[in-house]
């Protein structure tokens, strides 16, 4: 090779890996992220397959076993009606995790779309979208939630069933009111990235505006979006429990993690386990998702040498 006069430390290097395998290698370097991924996986497996293993009904009322602490018969104890908390948490965990992840997806997709459009357009559209974002930020959220759920609950219930309808409504409402920070982040990133030389180079090489965005700008803007997204998961799980608290969320007898916490609050002094287990589950899920986001950001950022 003609370039052999140039210093080349690359003679004995590991063979090139596919981008996904490389990303996985980098992800594994982040120990907490790996531990978190395992924890989250355990949680997901538990809520998905739990009911097939732990075959206790969530509605079995047993007044002889009220407010019992953890035991073999009831590993997480019982509540004031003698219902098994483990069974209720497994059932509620499906809803809480699904709401958190789905609402995050809605918020990130809407936020990225609006932020990208606002960041790329140089004219009235960009200003208009940012006004819209500011408008949404300034809306009083609670009255709006009340109104939206009051207006649409019955219609969606009729189409998708009581739990399905409420699920869709809650995901859309939580996601639809949490996209603004993502939109602002994405817009700010786009404004700076679109002027970079490599975007201009892509344009000079014949890349269409869409390709410039999808291939060159968006991947560079992903880091903050991933972090914002993982924070959104946590916020959505907590927002769902707020809604349950106000009687706006799922029906009162649907034991989401937030609902369990709410029910437990009057018995904290005599039955702390009732609040500790669902609270612990929310804590583990939220922390794990945040670490996973951290690990993903490191793994996807090729500039960082790890």
């Amino acid at each position: 090779m003609a370039g052999s006069t140039l210093a080349s430390p690359s003679a004995e290097r590991r063979p090139a890996w596919s981008p996904w395998r490389e990303t996985w290698r980098r992800y594994r370097r982040h120990k907490m992220a790996v531990v978190s991924a395992v924890l989250l996986l355990v949680l997901i497996v538990a809520v998905v397959f739990g009911p097939f293993v732990w075959r206790v009904s969530i509605n079995d009322i047993d007044f002889n076993a009220r407010l019992e602490g953890p035991s073999l018969a009831h590993p997480f104890g019982t509540d004031d009606l003698g219902q098994d908390i483990l069974a209720r948490m497994i059932y509620g965990g499906r809803i809480s995790l699904a709401v958190g992840l789905a609402a995050m997806a809605v918020a990130v997709v809407i936020g990225t779309l609006i932020g990208a459009l606002a960041g790329m357009s140089r004219g009235a559209l960009g200003h208009g979208l940012m006004w819209l974002t500011d408008l949404f930020l300034s809306l009083p959220q609670l009255p709006l939630l009340l109104l939206l759920i009051y207006l649409f609950r019955d219609g969606l219930k009729a189409v998708f069933g009581p739990e399905g309808g409420i699920f869709i409504l809650i995901v859309l409402v939580i996601g639809g009111l949490r996209w603004m920070p993502v939109a602002r982040l994405v817009r700010a990133q786009f404004l700076s990235l679109r002027e970079k030389d490599f975007v201009e180079a892509a344009r000079a090489l014949g890349a269409s505006p869409l390709r410039q965005v999808v291939r060159h700008i968006l991947p560079n803007a992903l880091g903050p979006v991933i972090i914002a997204g993982t924070i959104d998961v946590a916020a959505a799980i907590i927002a769902e429990s707020t809604l349950s608290f106000l009687g706006l969320g799922f029906p009162p007898d649907t034991p989401t993690w937030g609902r369990l916490l709410f029910d437990a609050k009057d018995f904290l002094d005599i039955a702390a386990h009732w609040a500790l287990f669902p609270g612990g589950a929310i804590f583990v899920a939220v922390v794990a998702i945040n670490f996973i986001g951290d690990g993903m950001r490191d793994a996807l950022d090729a500039r960082r040498v790890i």
Partner: protein, 288 residues
């Protein structure tokens, strides 16, 4: 034979808060197939805007091509939309940028970025494009080409990145390459390597090159014909030999005089014993 690219009366203006800025104000350029043309001039004289106007890479607005024709193989590029130009960019006219350090996307491997061009313009599959990319890397003399295509821009030095940029610009074997100060960001030894590479590639691929530079050393090294630009216009056009031997325009004369030379009979501007700043300054001004 009709020239490959002919620019007639090009005027590119920018609207600013203080009125219209005439960045390019009536430029005529013609370049034949296989020819090397250099455009030289000080910063801000309109060389880059002229080059970017050819492929409409200037920001519009505020920029606007007010007048003129850009005929590439007889076809006027000025009325084309950006979308139509996408098919010409890189395919027929390649562009090498000034800043190799920032002109590569940091989150894509360099191979992917070159392969993308090939997939876009030649419709190659992922595999074929990557194979061609390795070939291109060999052509621009990147050592261990097959291994290096998977690396990311931050793993390359400036000179190597410029080689990647050249591979990208030449991937589709364009008929014309516009190199906008391709060596300005590099140190002198690397400059020489890159220029030599460009010249070899030009001979090998038979393309025309427009080299834009403010460095007369680069021009002397590289060009056949030179255009001198000043304030948005072309003030002189000559062969390299003529230009350096007998500049016709006073501005060219000044430009040449501004280069410090080792071979000319230079004299000190000011001696320590008669340190007179006013005199020294006067001499500098006179020299220009």
């Amino acid at each position: 034979m009709a020239p490959l690219l002919e620019i007639k009366g090009l005027k590119t203006h920018f609207s600013t808060d203080d009125g219209m800025l005439q960045a390019v104000d009536g430029v005529d350029i013609a370049i034949n197939k296989g020819e090397t043309l250099c455009v030289v001039g000080e910063s801000g004289c309109g060389k880059t805007v002229t080059a970017m106007s050819i492929l409409k890479l200037i920001a519009m607005p505020p920029g606007r091509i007010v007048e003129g024709q850009i005929l590439f193989e007889g076809r006027d590029l000025v009325p084309l939309t950006s979308h139509q130009l996408d098919d010409i960019r890189a395919k027929d006219i390649g562009f090498i940028f000034q800043e190799p350090m920032t002109s590569l996307n940091p989150v894509l491997s360099v191979g992917e970025q070159v392969a993308e061009v090939l997939r876009r313009h030649e419709g190659l599959s992922h595999k074929e494009a990557l194979a061609r990319t390795v070939e291109m890397f060999k052509l621009v003399q990147i050592p261990n080409a097959a291994g290096r295509v998977h690396d990311y821009p931050h793993q390359f030095s400036g000179g190597m990145r410029q080689r990647v940029m050249i591979a990208m610009a030449l991937a589709c074997k364009p008929k014309l390459v516009i190199a906008d100060e391709p060596t300005t960001a590099l140190d002198v030894t690397i400059q020489a390597q890159i220029l030599e590479l460009l010249r070899d590639l030009q001979a090998e691929l038979g393309m025309s090159v427009i080299l834009i530079s403010h460095d007369l050393g680069v021009i002397a090294e590289f060009a056949q014909r030179v255009l001198v630009m000043y304030a948005g216009r072309i003030v002189e056009q000559a062969s390299v030999r003529q230009l350096f031997r007998k500049p016709m325009h006073p501005y060219t004369d000044g430009l040449l005089a501004a280069v410090p030379r080792v071979d000319a009979d230079a004299h000190r501007l000011c001696h320590r014993e008669d340190l007179d700043l006013g005199l020294a300054l006067g001499e500098v001004v006179h020299g220009l």
